[in-house]
Symmetry: C2
Subunit: 326 residues, 2 copies
């Protein structure tokens, strides 16, 4: 079994080589090469390839193009989301619409979506129908999730269950679909690929909640700004849980803090103090553990069902990227 | 055989009913219902259904959802193109980005693209792989065509062959793919579906050139503004042919007219006078006839190959929408 790091480097190399990406029209393909060259964790590509290996017992490398397709779709959503969010940078570099313009971002994104579908059906012709169905269903859900995310920014009362449903669609569905699609390409039947999907979906929700948590309680070597979500009033699991559990007095203070736009350091400290009083960290940890727990239950079935303990590699990979026992 | 008009009405009804279109999130699906309710000619849907009938001998209605999928994809391209072109109206009504905003237009468009793929693979599961491949290849070409169209607006010297290649990708590929996809769904083999594709592609180029011609030489009951392309300096087949054939003196006058922004009536009259001198109408008619002629050659083969003279219905439909012998 190739190392996770090797899989990541292979995807980077595949994109860098870009053998399958046309160069004309240049204004269409240059932004695609650019965004794909900004190296990420390549989680979706690696999960796809691992799921292929797990289902088939064959080398994960056989599913390199398929993994690249899932990763390209993910990058398409980033390009369009960055336009919609008016984001100036992505992974420390200018976003596509900043470096070129919004029209180029829209159309390059559309092309990445189309190419990802093309790569999917080209890479495993014998399974193309089921791959395309799983992929298109996931794509619709991702769009719905992004719209719900934009809607929530404008709405007053978001229930935690709505938030979970939003992150499920926006983030976890594609994690699940990467596993499902890899498994289908590797010859898994519908039931097995559905279990793989569900496992990924549950783990994906836990990952997103962990992301929310790290904004307020970052680990030692955390790259991002601490409290960025708090400063932006982002309706994360933490804030929504605080709003739901606060007593009237805490609610008044919390709302005052949400209206604070000048003293951001004081805002972050104030919100964190309320989080402390309401034990938001513990609540969030409990939710994360609950989703990881459900994923583990699913993993047990998959470990039992799939020969040679192959499924263990996926749990090991998720453990590595989560930095915790999954 | 159902009448063409009935097929069109069925597609309108299918969209109006929108049984397959979710209603939540509302801000995502309302624009989709809106754009699909703006009734068009539904050319792509009808061609898909006719090709299905031609290939299978079964009722065109069996391919209603498949036809609707192709039509939805076409409408996705309109929504995104309208954002990129900053177009205020579409079919006499406000464009999606005008009625909502650009973000809603981007994301509703993405969703239409994803849904069209989902409908395609759902409607004919046994052929889903080949349908998805043909569809994704067409989608990539359409994006390339749109970028070339935007590029040409900024470039000085566009050769007529580049223009033909641009309209082929932007418009004709989807006409061809509608026939190809309908034929594949109806059980056609690769060779037959490729011939159907090529027939549609050739006819599609002829249609676009006819569109170019009608801007300057409109038929009696023409809905659009006469000379709109001339006023906008749009690099149509007519203008590019004039630029290529003009003598130095005519070129000076033509360039002066292209720089005219105030006296639009004078501009149109002046350009039309140059067109007259250079026999641009005749040149364009010759090109249209050449593409229709190539399409007719392909049609002959298809008429001979497909039993019961079934292919004739497609020629008849194209004749109806072209308003001339195809």
């Amino acid at each position: 079994m190739t190392s996770f790091n090797q899989l990541r480097e292979d995807i980077d190399a595949y994109f860098q080589q870009c053998a399958d990406i046309q160069h004309s029209p240049e204004r269409l393909y240059a932004p695609i090469r650019y965004i794909l060259a900004l190296k990420g964790k390549r989680i979706r590509a690696i999960l796809t390839q691992l799921a292929y290996y797990v289902a088939s017992g064959e080398a994960a490398q056989n599913a390199l193009k398929l993994g690249a397709a899932l990763e390209m779709f993910h990058n398409f959503t980033l390009v369009h989301d960055d336009i919609m969010d008016n984001a100036p940078t992505r992974r420390g570099e200018p976003t596509v619409h900043e470096k070129w313009d919004a029209n180029v971002g829209i159309l390059s994104g559309d092309t990445m979506f189309a190419l990802s579908m093309q790569w999917i059906v080209e890479s495993f012709p014998q399974a193309a129908g089921s791959l395309a169905l799983a992929f298109s269903q996931a794509a619709v859900a991702v769009c719905e999730g992004q719209m719900e995310d934009m809607d929530f920014a404008l709405e007053e009362n978001i229930h935690i269950s709505q938030y979970i449903e939003m992150i499920r669609k926006k983030t976890s569905v594609l994690i699940g679909a990467s596993l499902q699609i890899g498994a289908l390409a590797g010859g898994a039947d519908k039931a097995l690929s559905q279990k793989m999907y569900r496992f990924g979906e549950l783990a994906g929700i836990a990952f997103q909640l962990q992301d929310d948590l790290m904004d307020a309680y970052p680990p030692a070597n955390f790259g991002k700004q601490v409290g960025g979500d708090i400063i932006e009033n982002k309706k994360t699991f933490l804030l929504l849980t605080a709003l739901e559990n606060a007593n009237p007095q805490q609610l008044i203070i919390l709302n005052q803090l949400l209206n604070e736009t000048e003293n951001t350091a004081g805002k972050v400290a104030g919100v964190l103090a309320i989080y402390e009083e309401l034990e938001i960290r513990k609540h969030t940890e409990t939710a994360i553990e609950s989703y990881f727990g459900q994923a583990r239950e699913m993993a047990k079935e998959l470990l039992a069902e799939i020969p040679d303990n192959r499924f263990a590699v996926i749990a090991a990979y998720l453990e590595e990227i989560a930095g915790r026992k999954v």
